[in-house]
Amino acid sequence: MLEMTIHEKACRGCQLCLDVCPTDCFTFDEVTQKAQVAVVENCIECLSCSFICPSLAISHKNHHQVKNFYRNIEFSRRMEKFL
């Protein structure tokens, strides 16, 4: 099961994660002025939030990670017929 966490002390409250998330996983807490994970079930694991976060406060666990062709032996074997 996917886990997504925001490091509370690292979050600067810039709201870039709220802007970039296509499925509205985050909310903004007006009191603490920090982003919060609201609906983790909506996360499509695009990782745009963790890439855009200026303080690297967002982390994901148990997510699918795209492998590059040149690193993925299994993929290379399956693609042999196109070479």
């Binding site: 296509p22 499925t23 509205d24 609906v39 079930e41 909506n42 499509i44 694991e45 695009c46 990782l47 745009s48 890439f51 997510h63 699918h64 990670q65 795209v66 492998k67 590059n68 062709f69 040149y70 690193r71 993925n72 032996i73 993929f75 290379s76 074997r77 399956r78 693609m79 042999e80 017929k81 196109f82 070479l83």
Partner: protein
């Protein structure tokens, strides 16, 4: 092992070559580049789906497209997505067109080109739109569009619309 490493490099270079071709045609043809790759994708989708099972049901048609891709060793998996607040996968526009959100994780562009600086949502991405349009045209007998809602670093969210 050396043989596999050689094949990996060859595959990567093939994709680099495709990216160079795509980057080269875009400034010259403009939006025409997208039409060209869309048309190529549609032709591929139609020919791959020539013997596919015909259905009127969108979810079954999507499964059929997945089978077609796998049968042709195209391991660019996708899955239907619905936000938690939404009841069903398939929604309908006021005009009556069926819509379905799809998440694409592995694809040729992200796997081979993203880390080499090739931009997303270009003419190569448009080929997948063409593929879906062609495949669904053959399977459902209906026109379809595949709009990129979000191109992320690890997955993309696309909106499939089928004219009913």
């Amino acid at each position: 092992m050396d043989e596999i490493l050689k094949k990996r490099r060859t595959l990567q270079e093939t994709m680099n070559f495709m990216a160079a071709l795509s980057a080269g045609i875009e400034p010259i043809l403009g939006r025409g580049a997208n039409s060209m790759t869309m048309s190529a994708g549609r032709k591929l989708g139609r020919s791959f789906s020539a013997k596919a099972k015909r259905t009127e049901d969108l979810m079954q048609a999507i499964d059929e497209v997945r089978n077609i891709l796998e049968a042709n060793n195209c391991l660019w998996g996708f899955e239907p997505f619905k936000p938690k607040s939404q009841g069903e996968f398939v929604t309908y526009t006021p005009e009556g067109d069926a819509q379905l959100l799809l998440v694409f994780r592995d694809c040729m562009i992200r796997q081979a080109l993203l880390r080499f600086g090739h931009p997303q949502q270009g003419s190569l991405c448009n080929m997948m739109y063409g593929f879906f349009a062609g495949a669904l045209e053959a399977i459902m007998g209906k026109k379809a569009t595949l709009e990129i809602k979000h191109a992320g670093e690890n997955s993309c969210l696309k909106l499939l619309t089928v004219k009913m």
